[in-house]
């Protein structure tokens, strides 16, 4: 298997995630794009781990950690979105301009 196939797939998914992050207005969909970027990075971790043949499996262990941290991030992020929605009746990030003068 070519290592570049995995790396290019990871780069493409990461770029798609960046596109979604820039384009979306709904806060839940922005978190969804972040999750896509995390998945892309995990592909790179595991592919490079197998490529290097690391005895300590550093790439795989790091991918596990990043999955756990992504789960925590989604939990906190959705809690914040829920709170904002309860106060503003909207999950649209363009409408969150409380700090604008």
């Amino acid at each position: 298997m070519l290592i570049n196939g995995f790396l290019l797939l990871g780069a493409a998914l990461f770029s798609l995630g960046v596109y979604g992050l820039l384009v979306r207005r709904n806060a839940v969909l922005i978190l969804l794009s972040v999750e896509l970027m995390v998945a892309a990075v995990n592909i790179n971790f595991v592919a490079l781990d197998r490529f290097l043949g690391d005895d300590l499996a550093g790439g795989q262990v790091f991918a596990l950690f990043s999955i756990a941290v992504a789960a925590a991030e989604v939990g906190i992020g959705l809690a914040i979105i829920l709170l904002v929605f309860r106060n503003r009746q909207s999950a649209n990030v363009d409408e969150l301009d409380l700090m604008r003068l």
Binding site: L8, S15, L31, L64, E73, L78
Partner: protein, 184 residues
């Protein structure tokens, strides 16, 4: 390696068979106008990444993705969607207008060209060694609890903090006119 060489190996065919639907699913995640469809497309992309991990011989990571990302995180997303918008279906204001979309596409396309050209220049034709020695789950477990035990414990503290923080942030404050503890 020529294009013909690439298509002689079965593994490369399997890779393409997984990678192309993943790209399509990722595209749907960021472009669809239906929130629930976006989440379901993310399920497709995550399942594809789990299949790639199996292909690479990283079985434990693959099943962790299935259990945690697909099983738990996606359900959490669906909860978030159900709570934050009552009418499920086609919506028009999910994305920025067309002009902003074009500049975002240029920016992310440029990022992809930058990353892709760097990777092509660095790795060229190098191949991943045969996955005859797939990482065994018991070996990975021993590594996690010996070599990586400190970061493992730190991650569990992070998860506990996120659990408590999520509850504290999202719960309703009791209003002054009703006694505490009567509402969730």
């Amino acid at each position: 390696m020529t294009v013909g060489d690439f298509f002689t190996t079965t593994e490369n065919w399997v890779f393409l068979l997984i990678a192309l639907p993943m790209l399509f699913a990722g595209y749907k995640v960021v472009t669809t106008n239906n929130v629930v469809h976006a989440v379901l497309a993310l399920v497709g992309a995550l399942a594809g990444s789990a299949a790639l991990f199996v292909l690479l011989g990283a079985e434990f990571v693959a099943w962790t993705v299935v259990l945690i990302s697909i099983g738990a995180v996606i359900v959490l997303f669906l909860f978030g969607i159900m709570i934050t918008r009552a009418p499920i279906g086609l919506e028009v204001d999910l994305s920025h207008p067309r002009s902003a979309r074009i500049s975002a596409a240029v920016a992310s396309g440029g990022l992809f060209v930058l990353l892709g050209s760097a990777m092509l220049a660095e790795f060229g034709d190098e191949v991943i060694p045969e996955a005859a020695d797939a990482t065994r789950t018991d070996a990975l477990g021993l590594l996690l609890f010996q070599r990586y035990v400190v970061p493992f414990e730190v991650v569990s503290v992070v998860l506990l903090a996120a659990l408590i923080g999520g509850i504290v942030i999202a719960r309703r404050d009791p209003s002054p006119d009703e006694p505490a503890g009567t509402r969730l």
